[in-house]
Assembly symmetry: C2
Homo-oligomer: 219 residues x 2
């Protein structure tokens, strides 16, 4: 719990997946779950699940597995911390709107509190239930809302400039949808969501699979 500093990024991602599945289980009234069931739902091995859960201080029983409610609480505490966290969306283009719709439809520990765009036509309007501010208001809104995390969905050429603005407005984590590498200070965490790269990767392996089938297929 203490050393969140040395947490592996991948482990954090998987913990999020477990949490989501546990949430499902909880709403369905399930109250205990085995590591191999979580593993199946998350697409990893049971050993991996158990190893990951060590960081939140495991409380599994050998007979019933993990108590869903209790584990969910622990994961929430570990991942989200005590307080509700607010997030900003920057760039209200078509992708930005999709993200807004996607996030607001989902529940609670993370909420998009404000949106920002440089287009004067959008400023002042409420889009997908979220007020759109001018970029200049960023520092104030971020400070007032305690926003430390931003979703960046602006066109690639603007991404770096806007990222710099975000950092000076106090943002410490950025989910970057623009297809460029952002240069930020070391205390800012950037996660790239690069749809085209993902697509190219999948296309690559889908193509390789052709040869795989033709040439040799084991197992």
């Amino acid at each position: 719990m203490l050393d969140q500093f040395r947490m592996s990024e991948r482990t954090v991602g998987r913990l999020g997946v477990y949490r989501r599945h546990l949430y499902h289980l909880a709403t369905e009234g399930v109250n205990s779950v085995y590591s191999h069931q979580l593993a199946l739902a998350a697409g990893v091995t049971a050993a991996q699940v158990r190893r990951d859960l060590m960081v939140v201080g495991s409380n599994g029983s050998s007979t019933r597995g993990y108590d869903v409610r209790s584990l969910l609480t622990r994961l929430e505490a570990f991942l989200s911390g005590p307080a509700h966290q607010n997030v900003a969306l920057v760039g209200v283009g078509i992708l930005g709107r999709a993200i807004l719709a996607y996030c607001t439809s989902r529940s609670g520990h993370l909420a998009i509190l404000a949106a920002f765009d440089s287009d004067p036509d959008k400023v002042g309007r409420v889009i997908q239930g979220c007020r759109c501010h001018a970029m200049a208001e960023m520092p104030d809104v971020a400070a007032q809302g305690g926003i430390r995390t931003a979703l960046l969905a602006v066109p690639a050429p603007e991404a770096q400039v806007v990222a710099d603005q975000l950092v000076s407005a106090g943002i410490r984590g950025i989910v970057n949808f623009a297809p460029v590498h952002l240069r930020v200070p070391p205390f800012v965490h950037v996660e790239n969501v690069d749809i085209m790269i993902s697509l190219e990767k999948v296309a690559f392996f889908a193509r390789s699979g052709i040869a795989g089938e033709e040439v040799l297929e084991e197992v």
Copy 2:
């Protein structure tokens, strides 16, 4: 080419990033580039770049670095193969439309040839320049268009069922935007793009106040 079967997924992703940057350089008339320049643009180390480029058969010179045009050609050949590849989009909700807009605005080696949706109101319409078909037409369209890769942007509860349909329609690679783990045969490659998990990860590290990404020292 060589054994693309054993290629690391991460390496393929980085090669895509290099390719994109090389494309930029080429359009700007730059005709040679050093590994450390590519590294800066991609957010990795120079050694990593050189190591990655080994798989496409490096041709760097010690004095001018890499020839942009030549390296770009090699990367294109390696990543995209000889033929143009077609892709399908399944699920034309707001996210699907954003993806359509995002991809069609970008150029060439990968094109979204067809869209699919279960909503009868959308079927037959042309959205973002792409014709929307009924799900039932999937196998035919995929076969005719030689589509082996799909972008899956349907609601989570439907994702698994649709994925099964895709696989039986001959799809061998899926970019999955739904927040669920898809169970597919081993010859199908799935890449998850999970916006909520990415956001949670970033929020976690932003809260921890730790460095996520190293800033590489310049020039």
